[in-house]
């Protein structure tokens, strides 16, 4: 039973990480939103499984939050935004996809190398979850760096937050208050982003954030 528990946790955490790589690969907005939704659902499953294994009831709430908010509401809302604003649906990337994915693999190795020696005292599973979570956070940042489109930057930020939740569930004894406040801050961030997109769109007829560079004030 122990082996099965570990295998399933490993599988679910790995699936969340693989979804992060899929985010790096996808070049279309709708597919990107779908991948993000899948990642959030996988995260919900992983958290739910942890709740079952650790016998921690409050983790079920976290799982439900991840499932409903990030698996359904946020991707749905972003989809509405893309449809209503007729945003160009292919995403321009700054570096090539292959390069970004190789950088992602590099980040994976880096975070494993960093986390494993530090978390030596923690159990095998918590250590692994921490390593994967750090990778997901770093890849979320990578998505934000390598994409020019504001919507995909939001997705990068949200997937970064998925990594935070994964880290929180791997470590035992995370109070529910913290999780709820993180979740609500993500929701607020989402609203801020929404307004931000409307503003960019109003001014530039595009959500390509490169257009903002011209307003920076420095001479080309």
């Amino acid at each position: 039973m122990q082996g099965f528990n570990v295998d399933t946790s490993h599988f679910l955490a790995g699936a969340v990480l693989v979804c992060s790589f899929a985010l790096l690969y996808q070049a279309r907005l709708f597919a990107l939103l779908n991948v993000f939704a899948v990642q959030s659902m996988m995260l919900a499953l992983a958290v739910g499984w942890q709740a079952h294994v650790q016998q921690a009831g409050h983790l079920y709430i976290t799982a439900a939050l991840a499932l409903v908010m990030k698996g359904m509401i946020i991707p749905g809302a972003l989809r509405r935004i893309v449809q209503n604003m007729k945003i160009h649906r292919t995403i321009e990337t700054v570096v090539s996809v292959n390069l970004a994915m190789l950088a992602g693999v590099g980040l994976t190795i880096l975070s494993i190398m960093v986390v494993f020696p530090i978390a030596r005292m923690a159990g095998g599973l918590a250590r692994e979850d921490l390593a994967f979570a750090l990778t997901i956070i770093l890849i979320g940042m990578l998505v934000m760096i390598t994409r020019r489109n504001a919507i995909s930057q939001i997705i990068g930020f949200m997937s970064l937050e998925n990594g935070l939740i994964l880290a929180a569930t791997g470590a035992k004894g995370m109070p529910l208050v913290v999780e709820v406040s993180v979740a609500s801050s993500v929701l607020i961030a989402f609203f801020v982003f929404g307004i931000f997109i409307f503003r960019i769109r109003e001014h530039f007829d595009s959500v390509d954030v490169d257009q903002l560079s011209a307003k920076r004030g420095d001479v080309e």
């Binding site: 490993h10 790995g14 990480l17 693989v18 790589f21 994915m101 494993f116």
Partner: protein, 318 residues
Amino acid sequence: MELIVGLFMQGLQMMLVLLVAPALVGLVRKVHARLLMRRGPSIFQPYRDLLRLTRKEALVAKNASWLFRVAPYLIFSSVWVASALVPTFATGLIFNWLADILAIVALLATARFAMALAGMDVGTSFGGLGSSREMTISSLAEPAMLMIVFTIALVAGTTQLSAIAGFMAHQPVGLRVSLGLALVSLVIVAVAENARIPVDNPATHLELTMIHEAMVLEYSGRHLALIEAAAATKLLLYMSLIICLFFPFGVATAEGALGAQFAGIVIWLVKLSIGALLLAFGETVVAKMRLFRVAEFLGVALVLGLLSMIFLFVLKGL
């Protein structure tokens, strides 16, 4: 006596892969056509095509060198040997000690090398174009393949296919992310190596997209028959490889009773048919990629292979 039975079993496998391969291609085409609401040719049409080609005159371009004439035989024989080594219905056949997964990759690489040379030999623009594309794709697919090999070798503790199939069939391997990723990666590599959609379209002669067909454009008659047979055998090989690595249940052993081996053949054929159905279905729902997207697609295979290895190390605790 034991030696004779062993040789017979090995010979049976060699003949079986050769005989089943065209039917497999025919089945894929048939299912593909049915999914498009067409009737499609009979499953046995590839046999008729091959027969017709062998009866036809083999035309060779004036400036073709000996290489052009030798290449089909080289390609066919190396692919055939490679496919004879992959355990299909039984493990532990008499030549299985040779069946190292790296040896099979090397044999296939030899065939590809000969094919690329032959494509450039006559000096037409299409041949060179096809060869260069093929080499580009294989240079991306091969590292991914090596990552898969490493992952599986780390799990099973050996690179010998027969032993791996036995290990996967009888050991409780469990729910492994690494193996799942390696499977996806291997499927991508197999699609690319067999020139199927979305990497290449085997049914078209459109010069903008073709890769495999561009290289064999100059061939005719028995040469073309050999190349077509080799392509069909290669498809069978990759399917058998996926089956033997990831779904080896029901595989017989060479020492077992004859009945078990017969059952092994039936199970193998059923699994191949399922593979053909899935391939045809996949080819129907996916569109052909732009050539420049192919590099990204194969990059996914490489990254998945790398990830599967990393996951394995993580699980074993470094």
